[in-house]
Symmetry: C2
Subunit: 292 residues, 2 copies
């Protein structure tokens, strides 16, 4: 089975198209990785894109883009709405297929060491790669932003004990794949979506690894979810849970929406569960034979 990792690096530049392109193209210079979905936002003054491929290729690709960001972004001049601590702000590795979380944690460490030693940037490891409990949550690592590190530096996992003069600091880590999934109800009553979201989300005693909120979208009530671990709760289970709650109120599901990219394994699991096809495997997919 081919090992596939995803990486979604975030950089503190969302205004200067020349710099944005230069960073994106640096990642693309590693031909064995696929680099796509460049997004940038001027008010956040921030950009991100997606890299997929085999672990080594993905690491080389993201390292090239970090080198360029280090050269071209000056954090002394950076302003933007989004919290950040460096030119390369946050770099998560995500297992997609044939790769364990442990391997992604190793990748984060390998990249962290390289960024620390070769580029002289202090690196904090977060989430699954965190070495300290207080660094697990990204928001905590980034609390006070670069400005607070200037006042009082924290001990990094790799690199020097002081911030890089122009590039600041960087957060690198490993996390699970996040599936964005929305279910639209056949009602305009947004309160119903809010109530159902509360019933099914983990925070309020619902499904594990599900974050959910109720919104109104195009005149319909929507339960909008982040499935933070589809191996724990997949989109099909979320759908059925919402359907059950909605049916209690005499309301039907109008439609649902998988937002953005999804790993093949999530689809395969949904088919297995929904159709009791316990022996079904992604290796039975014809295209996979050709692609791998």
């Amino acid at each position: 089975m081919q090992k596939i990792v995803e990486c979604v690096p975030n950089f503190s530049e969302g205004r200067d198209k020349k710099i944005i392109d230069a960073i994106f193209k640096s990642a693309q210079s590693v031909k064995s990785a696929k680099v796509f979905e460049l997004e940038f936002n001027a008010s956040h003054n921030r950009m991100l894109f997606t890299i997929v491929g085999e672990p080594e290729a993905v690491m080389n690709s993201v390292f090239e883009s970090i080198k360029t960001a280090t050269k071209l972004i000056d954090m002394n001049k950076h302003v933007g709405e989004h919290p950040r601590i460096g030119a390369t702000d946050v770099v998560p590795f995500v297992p997609v297929s044939g790769v364990s979380m442990e391997e992604c944690v190793e990748l984060a460490n390998k990249l962290g060491k390289k960024v620390g030693e070769e580029l002289g940037i202090p690196v904090f490891l977060y989430e699954e790669a965190a070495t300290k409990p207080e660094n697990r949550n990204l928001a905590d690592v980034r609390a006070g932003e670069l400005e607070s590190l200037r006042v009082k530096m924290k001990t990094p996992d790799y690199g020097p004990d002081k911030i890089h003069l122009s590039a600041g600091a960087t957060v690198i880590g490993a996390r699970k794949y996040l599936v964005a999934y929305n279910v639209n109800l056949d009602t305009a009553d947004v309160q119903i979506a809010k109530d159902i979201a509360k019933k099914i989300r983990e925070k309020d005693g619902g499904l594990k690894a599900v974050k959910a909120l109720g919104f109104e979208v195009d005149g319909f009530a929507q339960v909008s979810m982040n499935l933070v671990d589809f191996e724990v709760t997949n989109f099909d289970e979320a759908y059925r849970a919402i359907e059950t709650e909605a049916n209690k109120l005499g309301i039907k599901i109008k439609s649902s929406e998988i937002y953005g990219m999804i790993p093949l394994e999530s689809l395969v699991r949904a088919v297995k569960t929904t159709f009791k096809a316990d022996n079904f495997k992604s290796d039975q997919i014809l295209e996979k034979k050709l692609w791998e």
Copy 2:
């Protein structure tokens, strides 16, 4: 979108492992095609395997195997239970993704012309590639087998008007992908599987493009299906139809089984339909980005 075609050539050799391997390896000599799932059966004295890849690669791969079969198989000595009219007996092209049925019909014609002209074998086009209504059904083309063509030759679509002395004749065509799908009922009463099979199959007024039979497998009643056009009736619809019929009798579905390979598109369609995710596309599958 990458064009992917499948081809499943059947040859009249299922006993001599040297000949079987030589034919299989000839197909594999075209590196741009994937050749796999070699099966052979001594009593049928017949072999088959699967080729997937881009149209040109698949055609070149199957042509190499036909050349070898023509050299190594002598139909004057062939006996076996399975009906056949030649060393290369039947060659169907099947659209998998990004390819229309028309393109597969063209491929069948291109290969037919090559086999007729370069190898001197008469070729009959069947199913979607048939040029005469009486050649649509493979069983009709093969009626009486090679022996009847020896007595009274029919007019081929390509190649000479008489059978090849050692290789006989060949049937080439295009057809839809066939999904093999079984649903196991939580009962040992095989009659219930037979009754449900009758209710849901096209022949008896049930679901279009569904063939179904009832069997007993491992002590459970099984509805065994061939879905001959998953764009008309996909496995999820077949599952739901069987579930509805079984529930009427107070019986539950125990499990289901997708047998063998399945195109990604069938999975994507099942997810779209089952979860009302009308906008879901195979391009959202992360691995596809990397593979294509």
